[in-house]
């Protein structure tokens, strides 16, 4: 049977049996619509949750806290726990590890004041926390080039800030006879901090929120940080001194509460206030993996080194999202299965109604294979149209849902523009599923049609 002949047959079927075929296609369309909608929602959720909220292509490991706590009870002098250079080297060996970035927490008390530029008055905190990270970790910044140690290029010698340009300060370690003029140390802050500020701090102090467009202006915010003293006390060594900090952006890699600075700066200050020993042991390490699935290996290796993930939420969320997604896909598959049954029923009817016609075709030269092809092609058309319509409906529903969400839902952290992802392969998958289920439904009837006894054409009328 030629393709043209097949087209002729299909055209006639569509004209003749439109009602039942449309009904059959409808079942498939509903199933596909559900499948595509849920999958797109799942993908969107995964993008938002795992991409923005809990990035999972990386894992942060830190020394096990409990063991440290117990040890410190007995230890004479408090030995700061940490991740040593050997551990870093071992983690780099794990297959699938793209990069290893140590983090260095502030090992000195500090406080901060500033922000007059955007708040109209100075605000401050008596307890400033923070850490230092590799510049490569803040590649998500709009202008990540600004996140560098200002002393990479040495400044001119100075004794006090007065010796430097107005915007700079004199970086002069506690015991040094002189310092160098330094531009303000770049810092990134977390989105979480911005949210906390806007929802808790700002209302309490009658300050404007900084979220949204203000986040961008926050890049210009400068403040002075006082090293060596805080509300809780004074550092055992080093002198109290003041440095300048400039917020250069908001980053997912920034510490939740506090500021995150270039790691070189923090290393210098830790040396100065806690000793070199402290600055050589990192507080934690961020391991970025490619593919993301390699994170599980990293976690295993880390456990052997006495390191645990700082945050298991990412994994929990990932498992939860996958679980819910699997459930929804299952539901959609059940709908599709019902659609397949529907097709099966329609085709069974069609084949038994036309058994005389099929027998006639057989007598006229149609092979069993021709008859199978005919019905499978019909099922393909029904599945294809059902699949495309279903995918289209899902897309429309998603647009509608996003529009309602934009209108009705209040702004919340990480509120995305769309809760759905529609990669092109999703449509291919959907039509593939639709056709597969249509075939599933047509299988029995098609085989039956192929088995139709051509001799029966002799006996009874068509």
């Amino acid at each position: 049977m030629t393709l043209r002949a097949l087209m002729v047959l299909l055209g006639r079927d569509l004209a003749r049996t439109r009602g039942p075929l449309v009904t059959a296609g409808f079942g498939i369309a509903v199933g596909v619509a559900a499948l595509v909608f849920f999958l797109a929602l799942g993908l969107g959720a995964q993008r938002v949750l795992l991409g923005d909220v809990f990035p999972i292509d990386q894992v942060e490991l830190e020394p096990q806290k409990t063991s440290v706590g117990v040890l410190s009870l007995f230890g004479g002098e408090y030995q700061a726990p940490g991740v040593g250079p050997e551990a870093l080297a071992e983690l780099r060996q794990v297959p699938g590890v793209a990069a290893v970035y140590p983090k260095l927490r502030f090992r000195f008390p500090s406080s901060a004041r500033g922000g007059a530029e955007i708040f109209g008055k100075e605000i401050g905190t008596h307890e400033m926390l923070g850490d230092g990270i590799d510049a490569a970790l803040v590649s998500d910044l709009e202008d990540s080039a600004r996140f560098v140690d200002p002393l990479t290029t040495p400044g001119k010698s100075c004794l006090t800030d007065a010796d430097c340009a107005a915007k700079d300060y004199c970086e002069r370690p506690s015991d040094a006879p002189s310092g160098q003029c330094s531009a303000p140390v770049p810092a990134v802050i977390s989105r979480y901090l911005v949210e906390v500020f806007d929802h808790a701090v700002a209302p309490a102090h009658g300050l404007p929120p900084v979220a949204g467009t203000l986040v961008r202006q926050a890049k210009g915010v400068e403040f002075r940080m006082t090293l060596g003293t805080s509300l809780l006390g004074v550092a055992p060594r080093g002198k109290v001194r003041t440095v300048k900090i400039q917020v250069v952006g908001v980053s997912d890699r920034a510490v939740d509460l506090g500021v995150t600075l270039p790691i070189e700066v923090v290393r210098r200050w830790n040396d100065e206030y806690a000793g070199e020993e402290a600055s050589r042991r990192y507080s934690s390490v961020v391991v970025r993996t490619d593919p993301p699935s390699a994170t599980s290996r990293v976690i295993e290796r880390g456990a052997a080194l006495g390191l645990v993930p700082t945050d298991t939420r990412a994994r929990d969320v990932s498992v939860l999202v996958s679980g819910v997604l699997a459930l929804l896909v299952l539901v959609s598959s059940v709908i599709l299965l019902v659609g397949a049954l529907n097709i099966s029923h329609t085709f069974r009817m069609l084949v038994s109604e036309r058994s005389g016609e099929i027998a006639l075709y057989r007598a006229l030269g149609a092979s069993a294979r021709d008859m199978r092809r005919w019905l499978f092609s019909l099922a393909t058309v029904v599945g294809l149209v059902g699949g495309l319509v279903g995918a289209g409906v899902a897309r429309l529903c998603a647009l509608l849902a996003d529009w309602r969400a934009a209108v009705d839902l209040p702004a919340f952290p990480f509120k995305p523009d769309s809760f759905f992802d529609f990669p092109p392969w999703l449509f291919l998958l959907a039509t593939g599923f639709a056709i597969a289920f249509a075939w599933l439904g047509a299988l029995g009837p098609a085989l039956r049609a192929a088995r139709t006894d051509p001799a029966s054409a002799l006996g009874r009328p068509v």
Binding site: T2, L360, Y361, R362, L364, G365, L458
Partner: protein, 312 residues
């Protein structure tokens, strides 16, 4: 004389060769033998009529001959090919290209026009023919229904429907026409016109016919008659128009002719490769055709069984 001449030539292969063919239906225990140990041959250009009471296995046998039913025992060859060994595709192709079926109840598809019905075999069989559309017009013209090409079969009379079915069977110029009671659903007059049409087609194209019928009047087509009873071939009558063979066999006593050999017909045709050459002597063919034309025009009131005496 002609027949004797051709004896020296290699015999042309029969179109149908059946040896001890049987067909049973039903589960073991409650078996029903519809066709039982049937052996016969059909030569190219022959007309063979299958007679027998209802339930004697005529339709079943015809289905076997057309390769529609392969659940037989024994040996059955069609166009020199063993049906038991052909794949479904090969057999279907053979059906589509070389066999035309005509059914008692016409089997036209009501959702298609007359012309699309005639074209239906072109959907399946073998390589598409380039001039198939013109060919459809030709066969419709031949059965006198070209003017109704665009109509629905439901708008046609029984005889017209059967003629559409015949046109459909003729579309691919089959070598073998298998007809199951082609006049069974038609009134007498309409039946006559169909018989005439068969006569003309046979004369013009030399097509081989195997026709299941109850009606003696089909004997005027000149073929031999096979009689089935309870699935068995009980009797074979020579064709009434097999004048030469009969003349030879009975030495002039044609009216009593008994031992007609169907083979002689085909051997006679061995040297006549063209399908359009008349296969009987001119006078007879003329008579038959004249009659056929008359029958077409006037519905056939004249007794039209051509007798051997007529020719003598």
């Amino acid at each position: 004389m002609k027949a004797r001449d051709s004896q020296s030539r290699p015999e042309r292969a029969p179109i149908i060769r059946a040896r001890q063919v049987s067909r049973r239906f039903g589960a073991r225990g409650a078996e029903c033998t519809a066709v039982s140990g049937v052996s016969f041959q059909v030569q190219p250009g022959e007309v063979v009529l299958l007679f027998g009471p209802s339930g004697s296995g005529k339709s079943t046998l015809l289905g076997l001959l057309g390769g529609l039913d392969r659940a037989y025992t024994g040996q059955l060859e069609l166009f020199g090919q063993d049906l038991g060994r052909l794949s479904d595709r090969a057999l279907s192709a053979l059906r589509g290209e070389r066999i035309g079926f005509v059914f008692q109840s016409f089997h036209l598809l009501e959702h298609l026009s007359v012309k699309d019905n005639v074209l239906a075999p072109s959907l399946f069989a073998g390589a598409p023919l380039p001039d198939i559309d013109r060919r459809a017009d030709e066969v419709l013209e031949r059965v006198g229904l070209l003017a109704r090409a665009a109509d629905s079969p439901s708008q046609l009379s029984g005889g017209q429907r059967q003629r559409v079915a015949i046109a459909r069977a003729l579309l691919r110029r089959p070598k073998l026409m298998l007809c199951d009671e082609p006049t069974g659903n038609l009134d007498r007059q309409t039946g006559e016109s169909i018989i005439d049409l068969f006569g003309e087609l046979h004369a013009e194209l030399g097509t081989t016919f195997v026709i299941v019928t109850h009606e003696e009047r089909l004997r005027r087509l000149g073929g031999r008659a096979l009689h089935l009873e309870d699935g068995q071939l009980v009797r074979e009558e020579p064709g009434i128009l097999d004048d030469q063979t009969q003349a030879e066999a009975t030495q002039g006593d044609a009216s009593q002719g008994e031992a007609a050999s169907s083979h002689s017909q085909s051997t006679e045709r061995d040297d006549e490769r063209g399908d359009h050459e008349p296969r009987r002597d001119a006078a007879q063919a003329e008579a038959a055709q004249g009659e056929a034309t008359r029958g077409d025009a006037h519905g056939g009131q004249a007794p039209r069984v051509a007798r051997a005496e007529d020719v003598e």
